[in-house]
Each structure stands twice: as C-alpha cells, then as structure tokens.
Amino acid sequence: MLVRRGVPAVLVAWMAASSCTAVDTARLPTYARPGDVFVTQESVRTPYESLGLVQVTRKGVRLFGFADPAGTDLEAAMQEVVPEVRRAGADGLMNARVEMSQLTLAGKLLGLLFFFVPVPSTVVVSGELVRLKGPVTPPLPQAPQPTGAPL
C-alpha cells in the first residue's frame, strides 16, 4: 500500500523539482572532408545554383515518456536530411528550418505515469538545396565585428 502511494508521490515531487527546459542537439557534417555536405540556417551569399526545396518529416510515438523507438528527434531527422542533399547532387541545404515536438522532463514523467497513452512526436526539417558555383568552400558565418572602445 505504502509502495503504491509512494511511487506516484515520488514522481510528482520529481516533476515539480525538474527543470522545464528541454534540450535536443544534432551533430552535423563538418564539411572538412571531400563529399561532406553543409546544413545551415543562413543564406549562402556566394554564387550558387538552386536545386529545389526539400522537407523531411518523421512521425512516430513516444512510449512511456522516454522511449522514442521511431526516432523522431533532431539527430534522426538530420540523418535523413544529409542523404537527401547528397541524392540531389547538392553541396548543401541553406535556410534550414527545424520544427519538432519536445517533451520536458515533466512531460516525460507524465508520459511514464500514463504509460498506456502513447505521445505523438514529430520532427520536420526543411530548406533549399544548393550547389555552389566556383571554388567549393563552406559558407561559414562571418565573425562578429568587435564593438565598443578598444582596450
């Protein structure tokens, strides 16, 4: 009896104490080796040829709050995007937009508590495929200009 009451109480306390920040990261190709492609949220300002638009959507459900067997996170989406860029014969994807459903720790714990309700999860990555003209160099963002008086 004590255990039955104790577990939800611990979960509720954990939820209350947990942060509301959810973090997702994805590692991208470094564009340092031949054959690497770039994915950037910037515009390319060097001459390029547009090869079209692409949107990758991954849909699935989360089980027990934490399990994501279908792979609907940012990393999984990027793993779908990079082959699409290569298949199109592009050097990269510019102006990439990312949209995904994120669960905070509290949300995941709620999913664990209500384990019988699968939580829908989606990640969408879109952008414009481009092939650079001339020498192929990565469109690195410009370094910020120093501000204020010199020391």
Partner: protein
Amino acid sequence: MKRLALLFLVASALTGCNAVSKGSRLSNRPMDSGGVYLTTGDAPKRFRTVGFVQVRGYGVEVAGYADVGDAQLDGTIKGAMVREALRLNGHGVIHIEFEDENPSSDVERAQGLANSFSNLSTGKGGVETKDRYVSATGEVIQFLE
C-alpha cells in the same frame, strides 16, 4: 485481447513514418533569367519591400498517389505565391518559408492505393482521398537596379 493491444502499441511505435516532400528549383544567385525571383534567402541586389504574402495551398491526394489542387510545394510557391507577387507588381519573393503540413509517407500512400482497390473491388465505398495542405510565406520585393 490485452496482448493484441500491446502488440499493436509496440508495432505502431516502432514503425515511425518518414515522408520527404520536394519542390523544383528556385532562382539562382546571381540572377540568370527573367521571371519572378524566388529564394529562401535574401535578395541578390538592392530592393525595396512592397509587401508580404502568405499562401495556404489546399489539395486532395487521391488513392494515395494522384495529387489534385495546390497542395504541393510547386503549386503553392510557383503558382499561388507568384500570382500574388505579380499582383503587387513585385519582381521577386525572398525569405520564403514553407511547410508541407501533412505529407504522406510511402507506406501511407501504398495503404491509400490498396484501400482504394479494396473498396472498389468489394463495392464498399470508393476511392480513398486525403485533404492536403501546404503553407508558404515570403517578402515581396521590387528591385531598384
């Protein structure tokens, strides 16, 4: 019965679906042809903004494969959006953002086709259809040079 429900739950979780929507090429940089300049990036030369445009294309996917209407990236951007840009006397649309709101995966398309055949062969219902939406926004510009 409980086992069946659990099996369905696990199967549906493991079979996440993946859909890829594609649109044809937009404008190159620098500009190399006439027509309305379209890009997801910024303008290749000096410009002034004449307005903003948002389009939500609607169409129907018939039997999983045939798309009717504007619910494709090309129909929405190169059709409806370009028409609006020309109506505003624009020379181009920059900073285009787009979203295929409910794309179908290959499995869903195949399922739509199979269901349509099944419905027609058994005489229970007709061809399966699905409403499709694509939205796009952009900044309509006029070049100054």
